[in-house]
Each structure stands twice: as structure tokens, then as C-alpha cells.
Symmetry: C2
């Protein structure tokens, strides 16, 4: 779907909900609906919002710093600046557009900002309606064009890993490897990493979210690399754990158990099954082997414009998977003072199964 | 001040405001008060919260993924996990601690999250009190230990620039230079860049927030580099604009005008003057030369644990500067289809003037 069709879809939804307009503040939602690719440095430092009237043309509102970029990226869409801040502009713009009921993204608006907005707009007799997931619901299902972009992102991420893997030598530090990975990503066309690359060696791989340190890789210790990149806006996310030279028996046992859980869960993914049932398949295998407490996170998460998005493959998510969703499958076992193993692939949910986006399983089947 | 003293300061403030406890969700505030250094990947993906009872010991609440890191970093402070989510834990923990009035960070809590929290805690007869800047107010003024850390951050940032400057050759791309800068930062001990490094050449330097691209540096065109790093938690932020070989007359004119505005504003900074008056000094010089509309951002901002924090040196901020504040001074002129010049230093506000943290002005006085 092109941006104008997405906008029309949102406008129909607004009219059904009897809302005059929607204010889109979340950066990925903005990009999904307009093509405007600026990120927000922080939720307190917005690069703009997209105003979508139910019965009028959308407008991208931003400030001086992003004017040129916005105009280049949004095609025919109008761009307006708010030199005196967003609220000052909305105060005059909304009445001009006859907006009396305004939906906003409650899950991406600060409590303090919503409070001020409510106060200001009340004076204009405009009522605010908190919404959650209004745009994200649309983003859950990827069309084939998006799936292709996600596949390209996964393939580039794999290629970067392959290239770097050849160069890893015991004695290099975690930081050096992480930097080489991120540089290779960007030199090969990635916009950025999709999250801070994790490189964790030995015991440190027991920290599921380790920050790379000045720690040297050892030839017979586990090395966990969790990496992803953004290509054409779409994210990839992949974890490989391996031992540079010779794995111990214990490592092999844990690795094979994690891989078994991953394969069984992947096998079961298809449209119509619940997310929690997939999590349960992997969790039961790890539980039965006595490591249930050492697998403390959910099995997976959606990936798209955001590296972490719905649906979550977790014990709490009873919703059914639908064709076109893209999720990670990433069981892990973490043993304090020993290390951890996590293996992560990305798959597309299809009507009768799932399609693996990763193409190289050399690192998984050992 | 050490963490326990900072906690005591907050506790006294809570008692004065008749609040039983404060929930600290903002990552820098958490770090400032506890030493726990995990960042939040996104506001929707918290790495934990710090609960500070007015009359009891503080507790760091986090999840499985960050347990080991949290326990290593917070010293004597208690760490508790929330396997069923933060709200489920608060529901039992707050009554145990006799908390009936709970302050929360309204400016770092999502509207949707605050709504759910209110609903849940109401059942326990706990009232929620939105606060803004409760901890940030304390962070405004840096003590000498913090100033030293900020100075070290600035010095390392300058050293990285010096090293890279030697290697810049026409023909290199913006991305290559940005990557080399960020790699040099981390190899020299920085935790990370403090923001995505900006390298913009020629016309592209007219975009104040340009993303580095596959664009080659040319020997007679302006090159703008805006870079910063995090060292021991504290940020630096510096912009240098220069021409690799020979600047044009027009470049020299614009550069010298920006530098003049920077020097005049810096000269006027001291405790007791308003932030807006400093902005005005720089803006008047640029206005009078006919480029007022091309200087579309504020003159500067505070820097500390966050790379952008209060106080803002802007026309809107009438508050007075106080000794121990640290701000950037960064006037800029941006001419579409030509390019831009921004020069940025960091200074400490002192009683009778200001102290420049940058030590090398070779790039500024041309």
C-alpha cells in the first residue's frame, strides 16, 4: 500500500469512530503514513506530528530544523512549521479545519503534554480522545512489499554477520567486534543499527542485555552476538551464540536444547494459532529439561518499522497470529556465572505455516 | 554528592510536599539517584523504576533482563523484580510500605500508562500526583565532581575530533567520517556517542540535523561536524564547521559572524543573568547582519547526564542562570542551497563569568 491509501484507511476508521482528526506523534507511525523518516531523539524532543483530518488532506507539522527533510520526503503532502510550538499552531489550525473531536496517541504522548493539550484545546471547545494502537493495528500485518523490505534487511544483517564472523579472533574485545559490525552495516547501506549491538563473551552472555565492554573474546567460551539493522526503514534482529574454537559438552547440551525449542516453536507457527501457545511449546521443552527459570523472557516479538513491536510471542498474549505478521523466535537459557545461549530468527506468519527469513542455519545446528 | 545524599535530598523534598513516595522512571534520573546505568531502548521499554519512599529505603524495581547489572551497580540499595509487570508489584509493595500518596514523573510517563496506574492504585486507595522536574531541578546545578566528569567528556570529545581531523581527506564520505568518529570514541573509553554524529558537507550543512549520507567531502566546501560522547555517564556536545582546504570569502564572512555572536554571548554568561538575554546577544548580532531568519534555533541548552537538558538558552526562557549550570553556546546560520555554519562550545556558569570547557579554538578563529 502506498502512503495515500494508508491515509485513506485511517480516515475511514476515523469517520467510523466519529472523530474529526487524528494526531500521529509516534515516529514509526508518522513514517508509515507519510514517508517522513526523521526519528525522535527522545520522546521529549519530537521531530514533528502528522495531523490527519477525517475529511481533509493530511498535514505534516514540524519545526525549522526538519523543514527541508520533511518537504523532500512527504511528496504532495503539505508541511507546516510551528515556530511558537505545536500547541500554538493547533490552537488556530484545528478550528480552521473544523476539528471538534481530536484523537491522539495516548501510548506515545506524555502525561504532562496531554494535560497541557487538553487545557489549551478545551478553550476552543475541542475534545481530546485518547487512542492506543490506532495506527499500530494496521502495521501488524505486512503486505508483500513490506515483507520484501524486511527480507532485505534480514539478508543484509546476515551478510554483515558472515563477513565479521570470518574476522573474529580470540583476543579481540567485545567493543571492537560491536563497532566493526555497526560500521559494516552502515558502509553496506543500512540507515543505522536497529538497536545497540550486543556482543557478550563467556559469563557475560548470561546478561541478556549486555553492553559490549573492554573484555576479550576467549577461544573456548560462548560468544553471543545480537544484532540488527535498519534498511529502507525496516528492521532486522538476529542472535547467534557460538564458541569460536571448541564448545564444551555443557555448551553443546544447552545450545542444542535452545535450538530444539526454537525449531519446535517455529514448526507450530501459522495463522490462527495463539501467540501464547507458540511461547508454550518452546517453554515446555526448556522447562522439561530443568531450565525453565533460566528462560526469563518471552519467546519473541513482532518486527517491522520498529525492532520491537506487536505481536509479542509471550505467555500473556492470547491473541491469534495472522498471515503477514513477522515475528522473532528467540528462546534463550541464561546461567549466572556460566553464560547464556540465545538463538533468534525472524519468520513471516503464513496461512499454513511460516516462512523463515533467515537463510543460513550453520550457526544453529551444531 | 553521593547517591545516598541525593536520595536524602529527594526524601526531604517529598516530606515537604506531603508525598509518601516518588516513582522515578526517567533513565537519567534513575542513574543520578542510584547509579543504575541501564538506558531505556524506548519509553515503552523501561529498564526499571526507582521507588523512593519519603521515610524508608529506596528500592530499584526492574525485570529479569537487568537483574545482574542492577545488583552490581546500586551498591546497598535493594533490587526487586517484577515478573508480572510493574503494576502488579506496586499493587502489593506500596501498601506494604504504607504509601498512600505517590508522586510520579508526568513528563516521563505515557498518558496510557498513567491511566492504567491510576485505575489500579485507586483500588488500593493510593492517590497519584503528577510531578514535572522534581529530580531534574536538582540536576540543573552540577557539583565540582560532576563538572570534572563533564570536562573529561569534553576533552575526550575534542581529542577524538583532533585525531579524526588529521585523517579527513576530500573524497571520503560523510558516513565514513561519522563511523570513524564513533569508533574512535568507543575505543577510547566512551560508553557511546551522546547522539547520532552529524557530518554534513556543502549544501547539506544547511540542514541543522542532517543524517550522514553517502556523499563525498569536497575540498573547498563547508564541512559541519556535530559530535558528542558519553563518558562515565556524562555527555559532551561540540560542533565544528570548517573547509578542508580553502574557504571562500562568503564562507569566511558567515563563519566570522557566527563566531562573533558566540564570543559575545559567552562573554555575557554569568550567574544572575537571564537565559533569554544571552540568546538575545547572539541573535542581535546575527539579525543586524541580515541573517536573523537563518538562525532558527535556540542559542544553547544544558548538558549533563542528558545531552539536551535544562536550562535552554532561548528567547522563551526568562529564568536566571545559576552557578554550576553547564550549557552549550551554539549560534548557527543556515542558507538553503549554500550551506550552514554552526560553532558550539560548552561552558560552566560561574558567579562572575563562565568557564569554557573546550580547550582548542583553532577551528573557530579563522
Amino acid at each position: 500500500m502506498k502512503h495515500p491509501q494508508r491515509i485513506e484507511f485511517i480516515q475511514r476508521k476515523l469517520r467510523r469512530k466519529k472523530l474529526d482528526a487524528l494526531l500521529v506523534s509516534q515516529a514509526h507511525n508518522r513514517r508509515y503514513l507519510s514517508g517522513y523518516s526523521a526519528a525522535d531523539h527522545d520522546i521529549g524532543e519530537s521531530s514533528g506530528v502528522l495531523l490527519i483530518p477525517a475529511r481533509d488532506k493530511p498535514v505534516l507539522l514540524t519545526d525549522f530544523r526538519f523543514q527541508i527533510q520533511a518537504e523532500q520526503e512527504v511528496g504532495d503532502m503539505k508541511v507546516m512549521l510551528y515556530p511558537k510550538g505545536l500547541l500554538a499552531l493547533l490552537k488556530t489550525l484545528l478550528p480552521d479545519l473544523n476539528v471538534q473531536t481530536l484523537g491522539f496517541e495516548s501510548h506515545y504522548t506524555l502525561h504532562s503534554v496531554a494535560g497541557k493539550m487538553e487545557e489549551t484545546l478545551e478553550e476552543q471547545n475541542i475534545s481530546l480522545h485518547p487512542l492506543t494502537g490506532f495506527v499500530e493495528e494496521m502495521r501488524l500485518i505486512k503486505d508483500e512489499e513490506e515483507i520484501n523490505k524486511l527480507r532485505e534487511s534480514v539478508l543484509l544483517n546476515e551478510a554483515v554477520f558472515e563477513e565479521l564472523y570470518q574476522q573474529i579472533e580470540p583476543g579481540q574485545t567485545e567493543i571492537e567486534i560491536a563497532l566493526a559490525i555497526e560500521a559494516t552495516m552502515r558502509i553496506n547501506g543500512a540507515e543505522s543499527p536497529s538497536f545497540a549491538t550486543i556482543v557478550a563473551t563467556g559469563k557475560r552472555s548470561a546478561l541478556p542485555h549486555a553492553v559490549p565492554g573492554n573484555v576479550k573474546v576467549k577461544k573456548n567460551k560462548a560468544l553471543m552476538i545480537d544484532m540488527g539493522l535498519v534498511l529502507n526503514g525496516y528492521c532486522s534482529d538476529m542472535t547467534r551464540t557460538f564458541v569460536p574454537k571448541k564448545p564444551t559438552k555443557k555448551y553443546l547440551k544447552i545450545h542444542r536444547l535452545v535450538r530444539k525449542a526454537q525449531l519446535a516453536a517455529t514448526e507450530a507457527i501459522r495463522a490462527g494459532v495463539s501467540a501464547s501457545s507458540i511461547d508454550k511449546i518452546a517453554r515446555t521443552i526448556i522447562n522439561d529439561a530443568g531450565y525453565g527459570k533460566q528462560f526469563g523472557h518471552a519467546l519473541g516479538h513482532g518486527v517491522g518499522l520498529a525492532v520491537h513491536e506487536d505481536p509479542r510471542l509471550s505467555s500473556k498474549n492470547r491473541k491469534h497470529l495472522r498471515a503477514g505478521m513477522i515475528v522473532t523466535v528467540e528462546p534463550g537459557i541464561y546461567l549466572p556465572n556460566w553464560g547464556g545461549v540465545r538463538l533468534e530468527n525472524m519468520v513471516v506468519v503464513r496461512e499454513d505455516g511460516c516462512e523463515l527469513l533467515n537463510t543460513n542455519t550453520t550457526w544453529l545446528d551444531i
